[in-house]
Symmetry: C2
Subunit: 343 residues, 2 copies
DNA sequence: CAACACTGCTAATGCGTATAAGCGCTAATG
DNA sequence: CATTAGCGCTTATACGCATTAGCAGTGTTG
């Protein structure tokens, strides 16, 4: 246990050469490699093989600057089961891409309660660059990151923070607009929207896609708050004689759908439901909501590849939105005759 | 972008002191801290605050030897969805413990197809120690780890490999024996065992707990192979007039249970089923099998804490088995009168 | 035969930090 | 008044490696 780690000096001593020679044998550049004859090289390599020596990556990094390590920072802990379904697909994509590109991942656990990038001990800097994951972004930290020289890529679109933020996001606005078009094609003209319309970029994007796509349809009810009993929400939707309701949160949709079913209100017969994004596996709740899917794994991959481009080639800031596939589901139907009669 | 990172030298210049003074201000040990008057300290800290300087963890590690980073090595990729349910609970425990102890996690992605600890560039060594996760262990690498001076802890019991292996495992043998006792207390005397009884330690442990606990019960059928159609397995179990069957693999149990149900054979009325370990959430398949639960999260936590003890205090090798709680389930019932008649 | 190039190495340096050792100064002590 | 004991710093060194510069010896050229 007390046996100190082997160093190049040890190898050099055992092989009867200098430390520099060992270093050359290990990573001889084309010009310098051939300056060491095969015989000496063999002798050194024999010692390396026998001792199982490997260069200390820390010292290596000291002089080379790069580590082939990518940091992954999450503002929320990544693995707790409540979050796991959300984070795992991202991490899967990140891990796969990192492996292909020959990078390891440094998972930053965030010291103490407050997770911060710029904390006391920014061990983050050990990595060559970092991916930032999570819904809650600290504005100030983002600004500092943009201003600084540390390469990073955000997963999820981010507004400018003293400069453009490199990101890989989901095309929520486009997908939302597509769903609105589909709803209108089904004949719906009286529409409700339940969910936030401000705050995080991902939330805003949905609203931005939604609003202009409405066209000649009428937004008869909006509920931008969240904490309301689902029964009341349903009452309000029906009172406004909406025939189709958009939810930003799957959980809200599930709750309202359950109440509707309980009251004998048919979905989509009497009321169509559309969810803007699908965070959880379909199997967990019986319903397949009409919605769009977030390409989380692909986002992880793309972000990783973008980060490596920035690290290795000092590539310029890129901003990418990946397409979200429409999930047909079975909660959106054509306007019923009863609806038409009521109008 | 071209702005080089700040170093202590820069801070020193700006504050009009020496580099060493900056270092003292940053991490003054009790004896040395008070050697620097508040005024100077303030001046230096002001510059640090204004510039946002943070010490390079690499250089820090160079001199301190430790990095507050724990490596996590998995022989199989951790996040692919097939594996995710298996690995996630471990990672959850590891992440929580690491966070509490102030460590970050270095996830080793394994270069290329073959995942190896001792590869070309053992990036692992950047961490202070490592946790090894996964069912498939490379014997040779384990031996080298045991022989070496790099601190590690295995998750899952491991046989000696040229010396005792530090691990946190599950008490499968004890839990299995408990289940056997319970089965016997229900009156069962004709028992079947389906699953491997050799190979990985976790498999062997189940068999080791099973065999001696049988006592006066009779092992009327064993199937140590795996790849057999579930129908044939069921036929063989029934032909042997077993009244209770133990499975090591949940998947096998699910398959046989499904066939039995399809054929109108009642579980546990006609045949009791016990599963030795529960790998997947109960909700995913309808049945709650009588089994034991593997405390994966606790294992991750314990392994992390053990590793930190080894890293920080050079603690001796520990080998711990955590209790597996018995899952009552509804696939184990008392011997039916029909069974008794048949005997 | 002097000048020079090439071979096969070694010595020296720097990366950014922590820390032991030391140095000039003032105040307290004998 | 000589000595010592803090005080408030600075200087110097080491960590393990990559890399540049250079040096001794041999051959090659003009």
């Amino acid at each position: 246990m007390a046996t100190r780690r082997l160093t190049q000096k040890d190898i050099a001593r055992l092989a009867g050469v200098s430390q520099a020679t060992v270093s050359f044998v290990l990573n001889g550049s084309p010009e310098n490699a051939n300056r060491i004859p095969a015989e000496t090289r063999e002798r050194v390599q024999k010692v390396i093989r026998e001792t199982g020596y490997v260069a200390d990556p820390v010292a290596r990094r000291m002089v080379k600057g790069l580590n082939r390590i990518l940091g992954v920072f999450t503002y929320e802990p990544a693995f707790p089961s409540a979050q796991a379904d959300f984070f795992t697909p991202f991490l899967l994509g990140i891990e796969e891409a990192a492996q292909e590109l020959g990078y390891d991942l440094l998972l930053l656990t965030g010291a103490g309660v407050k997770r911060r990038i710029f904390g006391e001990n920014v061990r983050l800097r050990l990595s060559d660059g970092c991916i930032i994951l999570g819904r809650q972004f600290d504005r100030d930290e983002l600004t500092r990151l943009v201003a600084g020289d540390f390469p990073f890529v955000a997963v999820g679109r981010r507004d400018d923070a003293g400069g453009p933020v490199p990101y890989v996001g989901g095309g929520y606005a486009v997908a939302t607009a597509t769903l609105v078009d589909r709803v209108k094609a089904m004949g719906h003209r009286r529409i409700a929207y339940v969910g936030l319309n401000a705050g995080a970029e991902s939330t805003v994007d949905r609203w931005i896609g939604f609003q202009p796509a409405l066209g000649n349809a009428e937004l008869v009810y909006t509920q931008f708050a969240v904490a309301q009993p689902p029964g009341e929400t349903l009452d309000a939707i029906l009172a406004a004689r909406a025939t189709c309701v958009f939810f930003t949160e799957l959980a809200d949709a599930i709750a309202v759908d359950a109440i509707a079913r309980h009251r004998g209100i048919s979905v989509p017969g009497d009321l169509s439901i559309v969810v803007l994004g699908n965070h959880i596996r379909a199997e967990e709740h019986g319903r397949r909501f009409t919605s769009f899917s977030i390409p989380r794994e692909a986002m992880g991959r793309a972000a990783t590849e973008m980060l490596v481009r920035r690290v290795e080639n000092d590539a310029p800031v890129e901003q990418v939105l990946l397409d979200c596939a429409i999930v047909e589901g079975d909660t959106l139907g054509p306007l019923s005759t009863q609806h038409i009669r009521n109008t």
